[in-house]
Every structure is written in C-alpha cells, then in structure tokens.
C-alpha cells in the first residue's frame, strides 16, 4: 500500500445533462511508485477524460457521479481550487497529445517553463534559468539555449514533444500523465520518446500514466496495462481487448 502513488476507485463520470450516459463507468486501477501504467482504448473510450480527471480537471459539461481518486492518500476530487493549483504541475503534471496546441504561440519555450517553475517555487530567481536549461537537456533537446529562445512554431514536432515533457517535469512531479505522447510522431521519434520515458522513470523515479491507442507500444513500455472500452475497464478476455491484440498481430 505504501508503494501506491495513485489509486482510482470506482470512478464514474457522466454528462451533466444526461446522468445515465456514463463517460467513465466504475474505473479502478492503481499506479505504483516509479511504474509505468498504460491505459489503452479507442477513440471515445474516455481516455482523455480520465487523464484530465486525474488532475481534478473534469470538463464543465461532465460531473463525477461516484468514486475516488486518491493521490498520495489525498482525494483529488475533494480538493479546493488552491490545493488543486498547488498539486497540478508540482506533484501531478500532464503532457498533451498535440504539443503544438499546448504551447501558447506568442510565448517562448523557455518562458513557458520558467513561468511554470515560478508558479510552484517563486523564489528560485536566477537559478531557475539554469534549471530550465538542465531540464531541456534531460529530455534530450539538442542545444537547449537556442530551443529555450524559440517560439513553439519554430520547433519540429519531435522537439516540441520533448519540450513539453520538460515543461511537465519542471517541478519534478511524482506522477506524469502522458496523453498520447507518441501518436503525432513518426516511428523513429516514437522509439526515442519511449526510451526517454524509461530514462525519466529510472532517473527521476517518476510514475507515469501512459495513455495511448497503440497496445503494442504500451505493452513494450508499461508494467501494467489497463484496457478501456466505452468507459469501462475490460479484461484480456473481453471482445475489444481481443480485437486489439488481433489487430496487433496483423
């Protein structure tokens, strides 16, 4: 129990307007310290909703009907706005499927990271810049100094993805929720990002929730895999899981 960082128990999320149409139905899983948990599902299976809910960000059109999300023993869904703000980015952070959308086009990469650092550690001062460059180096960005001064549109997709990981890791979170980190990248870059995840887990001890639609990729990387179909966790003998595995072998 001591090794559990995140525990999701019976999470049910419904649309506000249609309380009997669950987006997520009775979802339970746990994430241990320094482990990678893969969550696999097709389009509309509720993956992204689940990812946002882990950070206490349930979209306004939805509502949590029942269940708990315990992060380091504290219930995320019961926290007030300020507690959540201090949790996000600092203890749990998230990287997005589309890094080009997740960066503000008029703010440089470096300024994004510095602002996020300042939000959790206002007194860092001049050290923050060096830490920011170290972070970019950690996620294997070549020439961090140049990249930090770039605007998001000046970077390639792979660089942007890594820059976003640097942003997500800037306050050394205990849990990283990575939403489709590789689906916008080509195969060689996918392999590099996956290697990067292994390295981050090894070097930072960060637990990772890896959300993807690609079962093969997740199975290679994750210690545990949760398959989500139409908002429910399904076992390996479920029709959808079988279809996924069949698709894998083709």
């Amino acid at each position: 129990m001591n090794d559990t960082r995140l525990l999701v128990k019976g999470l049910t999320v419904t649309l506000r307007e249609q309380p009997f149409t669950p987006i997520l139905k009775d979802v339970s899983f746990s994430v241990g310290r320094g482990t990678i948990t893969g969550i696999v599902g097709g389009s509309g299976s509720g993956k992204t909703t689940l990812a946002l809910a882990l950070l206490g960000l349930v979209p306004p059109a939805m509502r949590v009907k029942s269940g708990e999300i315990l992060f380091e023993g504290r219930d995320v869904l019961g926290m007030d706005a300020e507690e959540l703000r201090r949790l996000r980015g600092a203890r749990i952070s998230m990287s997005f499927q589309e890094p080009s959308g997740a960066f503000d086009p008029v703010v440089t990469i470096g300024a994004h990271i510095l602002a996020a650092m300042a939000a959790h550690n206002p007194s860092a001062g001049t050290l923050a810049r060096q830490k920011m460059l170290d972070l970019l180096a950690l996620v294997e960005v070549p020439d961090p100094r140049r990249v930090a001064a770039c605007y998001p549109h000046e970077l390639s997709g792979g660089l942007r993805q890594r820059a976003m990981l640097a942003l997500a890791l800037c306050a050394r979170p205990a849990l990283l929720v990575a939403d489709e980190p590789t689906s916008s990248l080509d195969v060689t870059l996918q392999a590099r990002v996956m290697a990067l995840f292994r390295k981050l887990r090894r070097e930072l001890g960060v637990s990772i929730v890896l959300i993807a639609h690609d079962l093969g990729m997740v199975r290679r990387l994750a210690d545990e895999t949760v398959i989500l179909s139409q908002g429910r966790v399904v076992g390996a003998d479920h029709a959808y899981a079988k279809a996924l595995m069949a698709a894998e072998e083709m």
């Binding site: 960000l57 008029v106 602002a115």
Partner: protein, 359 residues
Amino acid sequence: MSEMRLAWQRFVRDRVAFIALGVLGLLYALTLFADVIAPYTLRDESRLHTYCPPSALHVLAADGSFSGLYVRGVAMHYDEYRRRSYNETQDVYPVKFFARGEPYQLFGLVRMDRHLFSVDEPGRIYLLGADSRGRDIFSRILHGARVSLTIGILGVLISFGIGLLVGGIAGYFGGHVDNVLMRLCEMVMMVPGFYLLLALRAAVPDSLSSLQIYAAITIILSFIGWAGLARVIRGMCLSLKERDYVLAAWTMGLGDMEIIVRHILPHTISYSLAAVTLAVPGYILGESALSLIGLGIQDPYASWGNMLSEAMSIVRIQFAPWILWPAFFIGLAVMCFNLVGDAWRDAWDPLLKGRGDNA
C-alpha cells in the same frame, strides 16, 4: 509576432491611412515642441489687437524690391456702427528666426527664450488671426494641442487598462463573475455619455488647479469609455480560454490571473490596438465638448475646446471667422485617428474590410 508584421505591411499599403498616420505624427511633434514653435506664450495678450485678422506676410518692400519676410503694423478703426476693422500701417517688422522672446521651459525642464519665429514689439505676428484678447490663435492652438491631443491618448490608456482587466476577468471566469461585470458595463453604457460626463464633472469641485482639472477630465472620460472595450475583450476571452494552451497552463498549476495576463490578453492586443485608435477621437471630442461649455480647461490655459467657446456666437464668427481654426484641428485629428484605426483593423483582419464601423 510575425502576424503583427504582416498586418503592418497591409496597413502601409493603405495610402490614405499612411498619410493620416504621418499627419498625426506631425501634430504630436508640433505639440512636443509647442513652446519653441509658437511665437507667443500662453499668457501673452494684446488688447489693441482684439480679433485682429491673420497677418499678411510680405517679401517685397514698398519700392518693389526684395526685402525678406516681414509683417506690417496694424491700426484699429471703428466705423459708425462701432464695428472694428484693421488697416495695415507703413511700419515694417521683419520676421526674425530663433530670436529671443518670452522665456519658457522646454519639456518643463530646459530654460529657453528662443522662438522659431517672431517679430519685435510693438509689431505682432498672427498667422491664424487673434482672439478677443488679442492672443495669437496659432500659438494657442499649439499650446492647446497639449491638452487636446494627450487627453485622448491618456484617457484611452486608462480605460483600456480597466477594459482589458474587467473584460479578461469576466470572460475567463464566466458564470456569476461574468454576469455581474457585464451588467455593470451595461449600466455605464446605458447612461447617455454626455450627461454622464456632465454629472461626473459636477461631482468634482470647481476650485481646482488646471492640472487637477486636466486629470479629473481624463479620469471622467475614461470612466465612460472602458465599458465598450471590456465587452469586446470579454467576448474574445470566452473563445480564447478554450484553447489547448490554456488547458495546459491549468495542468501546470498556473494561477488564474497569470493565465489571463500571460496567455489570454496578449492574444487580444492586435484587435485592442485598433479599438483603442478608434476610441481616441471620442476622448478628444469629449474634452472639447466639456471645455466648450466652460467645464473643462479654464482660461488662460488653452485647449481646442475652450478656444472654440469664443465661437459660440454667430456674430463673432461672421466678423472673425478665424476663431474657428481650433475646430479645423479637432476635425483633422479626429479624422486621422479614425482613418488610422479603420485601416489598422482592416489590415489586421482583411475579412472585415468594408463592413462599416460596427465590427
């Protein structure tokens, strides 16, 4: 910011607007150096030159030879109906450049007494004629431009600040906050502007120094102006906050105000710039209107509005039409700001071109 550069390129292609921008630049440059350019200071007057018409500039001496620029003295006459008229005398007053005259402080710092051009006393040079107290209208237009042209910019900056903040907060938080703030805006916008202006002016004591009056008018004008801008900014924020980078900023634990200031308001700046330029004329006209009816800048200080208060009598306009010059400059400045603002908005969003003013 390359979008900004593209918009600028489109703006430059609009010749009329580009010229208007040049005219505005010139007006502000004249304002900055008003003390040097104006032959007379604010307090200068000559009761012997009441409503003296614009001075004729001569270059040929009486015998027809070239003599350099000079003006003649004038003598006042009354006809049998006690109507005033001026005749040129034979006295010659050469126009001197950078000669010593009344002392002033350039930019309020540097003591100087050189004027761009002047004539020796008792000669007077009136490029645009004189007013009821024999004051040079040209000089007073330059001095008055300080009030009239800066009050617009200053007022807009204040109301712009309030509008951005209120609109940003209303749009970002939505719900009850939005509801309360927008109803507040509507209350401000509901009252007809000019009456609100009068009511607010009445709330300020009259026994103020000219600087205090200037500040009071600026604040009153911006109090009226912020609501319209806040509404538009709020609308933009409603859509901007749905962007992924705002969600990303949330997941990084950034505070609400930081997200508004860093990730939302910067994206409204190009629109706001156009809105601000289009709002300046309203402030210039507002100040003119207040000063015209004697509630604004008080004599002996000049503003284009209070100079026009002399032109409220049709009889005076008939025999001294040059007292309407300030109106020309108000019109010029207002027109230029409108041209520049329109062109900038079109340059920013070519789809809006020709849609009129309600965009």
